[in-house]
């Protein structure tokens, strides 16, 4: 017998579709559901304060509440179960549901699947329907869920300093709409963030029709659209370059961080990794040349890296382009102009020649990229060079984008200056915080009549605004976005707005004065119009279900690049490469790897997520090169303030104490702690956006300094003429990694590709076990899948119990492709309910992340006590290795950590008494201890103990994954290989099997959280007792090695050694990776040279 769920009518038929999510609003029309939601998500004070956490989440049925005093017996408190009064049809209690949506971020959207439990989104995954990303995500996407449950988000709109009801805001918008319709929009200016939302663009067109005089301006502090603008100009139509690194054998990046900070980083990383992955000697491997000023993730992956100030990159770009043109017999006029422009520049010609030769040799399989901040001439020259290489249409395609005419902030400011703006409507963004310092927001506020602000947070911009209209999270919104390749993606709500907020589209529609303002209707219209002539409902249903609008990506432009127009852009002289000194520094403003431009400033996961390169958390720093540090120390007022310690290799007291320096650009200054960062251009100082917010939530408060205070509108991404000055103060930095050198230990094993070709066992000829093979004696030659179950386990004296499980879980991590982007770190945090601990506790070393990405530098010198300028970066994600002979298990006195039948090193939190012996005895140091009750206590009251506030914020409770225990204080925790996912897969398989013995999970049925997030697909997980499983194949590769294998703890996680692919023709070629050199120097000081060479 089937129950009939009452749903509001126009969509009842659509709702019958078994899998997709129609509209929460409509389900919500039913009184019972409304009631449930009202009780569930009241604004302000919550009635759910006495809620028992997990059941609250786990049980679909609303909530559990202790029935307080009304206990019927004295044996235990009585609990009440509240069932759904009317169960929504597609909801199965206790099972997660996944819905497609997308996360808008700076114009583009990331296609996602939201995992919801009881209609609460708890985790974001990538949407595999979108092929370029293949279901992968990045760091901010993973963390975005926490913003939804941020208690500091704007919960109410404000008007004239008072809380405003929904209707008051509606009235305000209607009033504005009437007012400006009469004035043809004169006096109205809209300052919006970038967005490619088709619906928003449609609304903009309506706006332009109805308010022809209104100003529409788009501003982003980090603007990635310059290549697009240049290309559009050159081609005479809206166009942008779209890269396909999977086809690129040679890549030259000119200050472009295409793997790190780029709107299309997920697809880039994935494709780049595909072309880099080597499964056996003889496989092809791409080669990356990088010229950059800052040390970025892209630079970390480079096979040849050149440190160069951003402002000097132009000359190199021209030289490269000229070299390519010369060798490919390209446009000689352009070549001549380029060569003329660099005639006076000092260049490392040998480096450029080596690189260009290689690019040209690979022709259409090469690609050159220029950073988005580089000049138009550079962009144009690079397009021309790519064309000359034949790369256009292969590794890079020029695609037609949509018209997107927005005025620049400069133009807007002109109008504000002229008093032409009466109402400044700020749609998202945070200009008060991140406008360049020469535009004073205070003055703007004074000059315009009123500022109306729509935003997710009540921030710096809201402070001076007449009205703050509370925004809603993308997981609460209807909307649409475009992926970087143009594919249209839906934004669907997973949950009703938790607080009184407005949808961006609705606000815009009301402002325009449209009849239809329901965002759902607006999106429905937009999408169905694009597919006119088809069944509207079906189109839309498929759109929502798949999460992508098929065949909506940008089309490639066949027309070739007009080189004449390119040469017109080339200046007569390229920007200088010299003139730098410690009194004339370059400043490079970069997006923070975690909090971006500050929009994630109040996101605890991101704040605590260590920067992949500096490993700093909770703040930014003034990054300077080691050479600059040494030079600056000459000016240090007293030796204790010296930046370079006697031995910077170690931080003696475990705390990085940095002098606070003042960075001066023009007449503006900021103060910030310095951090010595190898790999920077010698006189380039790097500062990151996103910190120093003056009005933010409790998490972001007081973190770092605001680099916008020294950023000018004419040079928003880098500038020259800066200087640094000691202030005499110091600051303790929350750096999670104190030591940067591998100390010549074979931890990350690296080899050059050509050496690996010659000697495929090269990853096994280093490390202790290479000369103590006895350790691994008995089963050394046994096939992997047998080794997993039948276990003589090396040279152990005693017999081992056999692991009898049907599956034997294992993991492999490919170090060749890991960029260190941190997506896995936050994916794990989100999946496994890992708490944050706050800056103070990170300084003490108590961060809780189950995966950490170790970052080592190698400089290839024997005495590596002083960090060098030129280093190779190696990244290694380290999580619990699930050792078969786990040293942690042996020492646990209460059997709280033992092995299960399937080879997992399981951790029973509820049995743990917290001796911490296991953490001591873990050679990988991956166990994390709950020193305080991170979940139940306020992070600023940890030391108050019972005197502090107790209890988890209701909103945070809603984010927690109900399938994972929230740990209490005093217990140990660690990576579980996502045991909840394994168990759930096993249970599903058993439910399917019923009375058959088909209980073995097919390979690839599920992914663990880090694996699922990893944009480079560098993590593989599966059953190693199955020789056909993907992970077994990975582990059977030549590169596979065990971290600290000599200990014979037999980890189930193995690493695929890192391959580098340097070009022997390059001047900076080394026959061995630098870390390998250091290993030989340390272990074979006498004979290392001969070894390194053979």
């Amino acid at each position: 017998m089937k129950k009939i769920t009452k749903l509001p009518e126009p969509t009842a038929e659509e709702l019958a579709g078994p899998k997709y999510w129609r509209s929460l609003d409509e389900v919500a029309e039913t009184p019972g559901f409304r009631n449930f939601l009202d009780r569930e998500f009241p604004e302000g004070a919550s009635i759910l304060e006495t809620v028992d956490r997990r059941h609250f989440l786990k049980i679909m049925a609303a909530s559990f509440a202790f029935a307080g005093m009304g206990m019927t017996g004295c044996r235990r408190p009585e609990k009440v179960i509240l069932p759904y009064n009317q169960q929504p049809e597609h909801v199965v209690h206790g099972k997660p549901a996944f819905f497609a949506s997308s996360m808008p971020l700076r114009g583009y959207g990331v296609p996602v699947l939201a995992e919801t439990h009881a209609n609460r989104p708890t985790k974001i995954e990538g949407n595999p329907s979108f092929a370029p990303n293949n279901g992968k995500t990045d760091l901010p996407t993973q963390a975005s869920i926490l913003n939804l449950y941020d208690p500091d988000r704007a919960t109410r709109s404000l008007l004239d300093g008072r809380q405003a009801s929904r209707s008051a805001i509606r009235d305000l918008l209607d009033e504005l709409s009437r007012k400006y319709r009469d004035a043809q929009g004169r006096g109205l200016a809209i300052l919006a963030d970038q967005s490619r939302s088709p619906t928003r663009q449609r609304l903009r067109k309506v706006l332009a029709e109805r308010f022809p005089e209104a100003v529409w301006c788009e501003y982003e502090p980090l603007d990635y659209t310059r290549p697009e603008k240049v290309l559009s100009r050159l081609l005479g139509q809206p166009a942008k370059p779209l890269y396909d690194f999977s086809k690129a054998a040679r890549v030259l990046s000119l200050d472009a961080d295409f793997l790190g900070n780029d709107p299309n980083r997920i697809a880039h990383s994935r494709a780049f990794a595909q072309a880099r992955r080597v499964t056996a000697p003889g496989d092809e491997m791409n080669r990356l040349y990088s010229i950059e000023s800052a040390m970025t993730l892209t630079g970390g992956m480079a096979d040849h890296r050149k440190r160069l100030a951003s402002s000097a990159t132009e000359a190199y770009a021209f030289a490269v382009a000229a070299g390519v043109l010369r060798r490919t017999n390209g446009d000689s006029r352009l070549q001549a102009r380029l060569e003329a422009a660099i005639a006076d520049s000092t260049l490392d010609q040998e480096w450029i020649d080596g690189c260009v030769e290689d690019l040209v040799e690979n022709g259409s399989r090469s690609v050159i990229l220029a950073g988005d901040h580089l000049s138009e001439a550079v962009q144009a020259a690079v397009f021309a060079a790519n064309s000359a290489l034949g790369a256009v249409g292969e590794t890079v395609s020029f695609v037609a984008t949509e018209e997107n005419a927005a005025e620049s902030v400069h133009e807007l400011m002109g109008k504000v200056e002229d008093g032409e703006v009466e109402t400044l409507f700020v749609l998202n963004g945070n200009p008060a915080y991140n406008l360049p310092v020469d535009y004073s927001w205070k003055e703007i506020e004074e000059k315009v009549g009123e500022v109306i602000r729509y935003g997710y947070y009540y921030d710096e911009t809201s402070e001076g605004a007449r009205a703050h209209i509370a925004g809603i999270h993308y997981l609460e919104s209807w909307g649409d976005t475009r992926a970087p390749d143009g594919t249209i993606l839906p934004v669907q709500p997973m949950i009703l707005p938790l607080f009184q907020g407005y949808n961006e589209l609705e606000v815009l529609a009301r402002l325009i004065g449209m009849d239809k303002t329901d965002p759902y209707d607006l999106v429905f219209e937009t999408i169905t119009e694009l597919r006119s002539g088809q069944d509207k409902n079906k189109v839309f249903r498929v759109f929502l279900h798949d999460g992508v609008l098929e065949d909506s990506s940008y089309a490639a432009i066949e027309r070739s690049l007009p080189t004449g127009a390119v040469s017109d852009l080339i200046p007569t002289k390229a920007a200088g490469t010299d003139g730098f000194s410690r009194r004339n520094l370059e400043v490079r403003y970069l997006a923070d790897n975690s909090v971006d431009d500050g929009r994630f400033n109040n996101n605890g996961w991101l704040q605590e997520c260590p920067d992949p390169i500096t490993r700093l958390t909770w703040e930014n720093a003034i990054l300077i090169s080691p050479t600059l540090a040494r030079e600056l120390d000459l000016e240090a007022p007293d030796p204790t303030l010296a930046i370079v310690r006697k031995n910077p290799n170690e931080i003696k007291t475990g705390i990085q104490r940095s002098p606070i320096l003042e960075l001066r650009v023009g007449d503006k200054t900021v103060r910030g702690p310095v951090h010595i960062q190898p790999g920077l251009a010698t006189y380039t100082v790097v500062v990151h956006h996103g910190f120093g917010r003056t009005k933010t939530g409790r998490i972001g408060e007081g973190s770092g300094f605001n680099c916008n205070e020294i950023r000018f509108s004419d040079s928003p991404a880098f500038t020259r003429g800066a200087s640094l000055h000691f202030t005499g103060e110091t600051r303790n930095m929350a750096n999670v990694q104190n030591h940067w050198s591998m100390e010549g230990r074979a931890i990350i094993r690296e080899s050059n590709k050509d050496y690996f070709e010659k000697k495929s066992d090269t990853f096994h000829t280093v490390g202790m076990e290479s000369h103590t093979p006895l350790v691994l004696r008995h089963d050394h030659d046994m096939p992997l899948h047998e080794r997993a179950t039948q276990t003589p386990r090396g040279t152990s004296m005693h017999p081992h119990p056999e692991l009898t499980g049907r599956h034997q879980w294992g993991m492999a991590v490919d170090l060749s492709t890991c960029t260190g982007c941190n997506a896995c770190v936050v994916a794990c945090q989100s999946e496994n309910n890992i708490p944050i601990v706050g800056r103070d506790q990170v300084i003490r070393g108590r961060e809780m992340s189950w995966i950490r990405i170790d970052r080592y530098y190698a400089s290839g010198v024997e005495d590596n006590n002083e960090v060098a300028d030129d280093v190779q970066v190696s990244m290694q994600p380290v999580m619990c290795q699930h050792c078969e002979n786990a040293p942690c298990e042996t020492v646990c006195p209460v059997n709280a950590t033992v092995h299960d039948e399937e080879g997992l090193n399981v951790m029973a939190y509820n049995r743990c008494i917290g001796t911490r012996y296991c953490a001591n005895n873990c050679p990988y140091k991956v166990r994390r201890f709950n020193f305080f009750d991170w979940n139940e206590r306020q992070l600023d009251q940890l030391y108050l103990g019972p005197l502090g506030e107790k209890g988890m914020n209701e909103l945070h409770k809603m984010q927690k994954n109900p399938e994972v225990s929230v740990r209490m204080r005093g217990v140990m925790e660690k990576c579980t290989y996502c045991t909840q996912r394994i168990e759930s897969a096993k249970i599903n398989q058993k439910v399917l099997a019923r009375d058959s013995d088909n209980v073995k999970i097919p390979d690839g049925t599920f992914q663990v959280a880090c694996q699922q997030a990893c944009p480079t697909e560098s993590i593989m997980f599966g059953d190693i007792s199955d020789p056909e499983s993907e992970v077994s194949k990975w582990k059977n590769r030549e590169q596979d090695y065990l971290l600290l294998g000599y200990l014979n703890v037999r980890p189930r996680t193995s690493y695929l050694g890192r391959l580098r692919n340097p070009n022997p023709a390059m001047p900076d070629y080394d026959s061995q990776p630098l870390s390998r050199k250091e290993y030989y120097m340390k272990n074979y000081p006498e004979s290392y040279t001969s070894r390194a060479e053979n």
Partner: protein, 183 residues
């Protein structure tokens, strides 16, 4: 005669004082030779050779201690065997469920614990201690017994005991201050 006058109970024993270890030793040998069974020597410290002088056999306590030790060791080993191998075998660090090696420290400590406790308990049992009330302790000169004087106590329950002859014997063997102990 200096027995306590208030105590009108039956005579429990006769007591005699001696000056030094040598005297008591010689006296004890004589009492032993006189065939007494229920008698005792009270000394402030164990006098070397007194056991032979009194004709006492070797103490049985080592046997109890040995049994305790064996019990402790067996308990330790079998406890670990049962808990970690029979009742709930768990794979811990790839170690065998049971091996004689890892339970050894536990079994070893239990051996010592049981042996020690066994010997102490048996010492109390064999000595019928604690016995807070004892006629000897009512002797008013008893303070000397734990200082620097030595006593011989001959109980009236001894078959050889004689109200008149025994005090004489005590006097003969050098005892002074001969008194009666009443119950």
């Amino acid at each position: 005669m200096s027995t306590s006058s208030e105590n009108n109970g039956e005579t429990f024993a006769l007591i005699a004082e001696f000056e030094n270890p040598g005297a008591i030793m010689a006296a004890a040998e004589k009492v032993r030779d006189a065939g007494f069974k229920n008698w005792d020597v009270i000394t402030p410290f164990p006098v070397h050779g007194m056991d032979q002088a009194m004709g006492l056999s070797r103490s049985k306590i080592p046997i109890v201690a040995f049994c305790g030790g064996v019990a402790g060791f067996t308990l330790g080993m079998s406890m670990v065997y049962y808990m970690n191998k029979v009742d709930y075998p768990l794979v811990v660090g790839g170690m065998p469920y049971f091996s004689p090696v890892f339970p050894f420290p536990v079994a070893y400590e239990l051996t010592i614990l049981f042996a020690a406790i066994g010997s102490i308990i048996s010492m109390f049992l064999f000595n019928s201690l604690p016995m807070h009330h004892h006629p000897t302790l009512n002797y008013e000169q008893i303070e000397k017994a734990s200082n620097d004087r030595y006593f011989i106590v001959i109980e009236s329950s001894d078959p050889n005991f004689d109200e008149t002859k025994t005090p004489d014997l005590l006097k003969d063997i050098g005892g002074s201050n001969i008194g009666k102990l009443k119950d």
